[in-house]
């Protein structure tokens, strides 16, 4: 395995804290259905990591186990702190921001209110530094509007009236308001036009580069995800079948076979 030689800072980051997120022997599922069956992988601080695989491979379940939406066995540590056994509201407090599949925006709330809910953990009255924190939240609103200018135009509009792409932007923006150290994106491209998805991934790349936020993105659209991700893991039937730098994965014939090439070979999937 070779580090991508094109980007030396990236390699430096990866070696600095290679086990920022460490997943070991992760099993997870719903009731009797065991969806994820023994995953081991690490994500370095500041890295964008893609989890790829066909429908039902356990990508979403993996992501949900990380944030506490589904229960998992094994071990998941973020910066040395165990995440398993915690509820989503607890992992959020540890800096994990999960953007769920289907976006999960608060449709009745305005765009700006959605973003403020995202900053909820930081603005509580009980905080002694509440005032400085409120200024910081105002600055973060600007920061998010900077990434997503469309959200600024619609800041007073109900989130439910936004287009799918705008809602996905809002969901990511809300997650950023948490100032997360780990951002989890579940199928951000779902139901979006290719152009919108591309724009979205460019913003994710910008966020990662400017804030060094570690990102894990689960995607069906492998091409797109591999363009942004530094590393990728390919899942099939709840197990890792391939891991490596994005470039290698892209060029690997096995991925084309297992995953990308399905439509080419059978001529019908998509």
């Amino acid at each position: 395995m070779t580090e991508p030689a094109t980007d030396s800072t990236e390699a430096a980051q990866a070696t600095a804290e290679p086990d920022f997120l460490k997943v070991a022997g992760l099993h997870a599922g719903y009731g009797q259905a065991r969806v994820v069956q023994g995953l081991d992988f690490s994500v370095a601080r500041g890295e964008v990591c893609a989890i790829l695989g066909p429908n039902g491979a356990g990508k979403t379940t993996t992501l949900r186990a990380l944030c506490g939406m589904v229960r998992g066995r094994g071990s998941v540590t973020l910066n040395g702190t165990e995440l398993l056994g915690r509820s989503p509201e607890q992992t959020a407090r540890l800096g994990v921001a999960h953007v769920p599949e289907g976006r999960g925006t608060f449709n009745d709330l305005t765009v700006e209110e959605n973003l403020r809910v995202g900053a909820h953990l930081r603005t509580g009255r009980w905080r002694r530094d509440g005032r400085t924190e409120r200024t910081a939240v105002a600055a973060d609103l600007e920061r998010v509007y900077g990434y997503f200018p469309k959200l600024r135009q619609r800041s007073r509009q109900a989130a439910g009236s936004l287009s799918g792409g705008e809602q996905q932007m809002l969901a990511i923006g809300r997650a950023l308001m948490l100032r997360p150290s780990l951002l989890l994106l579940d199928e951000p491209s779902l139901g979006l036009a290719p152009l919108v998805t591309r724009e979205l991934f460019e913003i994710v790349r910008a966020v990662n580069e400017e804030e060094r936020t570690t990102v894990i993105v689960v995607e069906q659209n492998a091409q797109l995800a591999l363009d942004v991700a530094h590393r990728a893991h390919v899942l099939e039937a709840g197990r890792l079948v391939l891991s490596g730098p994005s470039q290698e994965i892209r060029e690997d014939g096995q991925v084309a076979e297992v995953y990308l090439g399905v439509s080419v070979r059978s001529g019908k999937g998509g």
Binding site: E89, G104, N107, E113, R116, V117, R174
Partner: protein, 296 residues
């Protein structure tokens, strides 16, 4: 008295009783927004709050001191009900939860009877006798008082929900609890808060209606039906609808009693039932509610 002033007189009285319905309907709507069910015990919770107020006044406290104390007790009581009775079944099917509230209804009713007996108690009228004359329309101080108290409560709730960070968090939880969790909101605590608020708003209706109806454990049974009609008319997911619905139901009830001979005073209770039926047939989501749209 001319026909017009006669009509206005009826409308004013209708608004007075409508304010009480609005208050209990708002409690129902709050619970529906937060927990997704109709709480059949809402009236009984208001009834027991009213007994608390009665007990405080009977032991020598002034009404206007007893009122805030009662509301505080109701708030705590509502939070306890959520934590102890509702939380254990919150992931159960809706029907299970509704039946739990029916059980709560029977339990609270029986407890009130056990503690305070089923004999009727005289509840003090907090507002002065008499009223004012507005161009031939006589408005009792008691009606004005009820309207004023309900208006103050509604305004406070509006400010809480629209202009405070706690209110924002509560609206977020009502809209999408799963996403609220992902933003680090402790949803359980917010639901307790919601039930506490609902119990408080409901208590206002009980305390205001008690001087008119006299206090006994079954006092709120009839009021609950009017509140159901109000919430159905306004839309079960709309707080504004609950208030408008409450006032409309109050006015409709008074007008029907005064102008429709067949109905009179005895059959007035049929009015809310007719309203419920008509709304469900014509516009099931109510005036301000949104029709349920399922994404395909």
């Amino acid at each position: 008295m001319s026909a017009v002033t006669e009509l206005l007189q009826q409308v004013v009285e209708g608004v007075g009783s409508g304010a009480v319905y609005a208050s209990l309907a708002l409690a129902l709507v709050l619970i529906h927004r937060f927990t997704g069910i109709v709480n059949f015990a809402q009236g009984e919770l208001a009834m027991i709050s009213t007994y608390v107020a009665w007990q405080l006044v009977a032991s020598g406290m002034s009404f206007w001191l007893a009122l805030p104390v009662t509301l505080a007790v109701s708030f705590a009581g509502g939070m306890l009900v959520e934590r102890i009775v509702i939380r254990p079944v919150q992931n159960a099917p809706e029907l299970t939860m509704v039946i739990v509230t029916v059980g709560l209804f029977i339990f609270v009713n029986a407890m009130a009877g056990l503690i305070w007996s089923f004999t009727v108690k005289d509840f003090p009228q907090p507002f002065p006798d008499g009223g004012i004359d507005l161009g031939g329309v006589r408005v009792d101080w008691s009606s004005l008082g009820i309207i004023a108290v309900v208006a103050v409560v509604m305004s406070l709730l509006y400010v809480l929900f629209q202009h405070t960070s706690v209110g924002l968090v509560m609206r977020a939880v009502a809209g999408n609890p799963a996403s609220a969790r992902l933003s680090g909101i402790r949803v359980g605590r917010v639901l307790m808060l919601g039930w506490g608020l609902a119990a408080t708003v409901g208590a206002v209706s009980g305390v205001l209606v008690a001087p008119v109806l006299f206090l006994e454990p079954n006092m709120m049974g009839g009021v609950l039906i009017y509140a159901f009609a109000a919430a159905t008319l306004g839309g079960f997911d709309s707080p504004v609808g609950a208030v408008v619905g409450g006032l409309l139901v109050g006015v409709a009830e008074t007008l029907a009693g005064a102008y429709v001979d067949v109905i009179g005073a005895d059959l007035k209770v049929g009015v809310p039932l007719v309203i419920i039926l008509a709304v469900l047939l014509v516009r099931p989501q109510g005036l301000f509610g949104r029709a349920a749209v399922e994404r395909a």
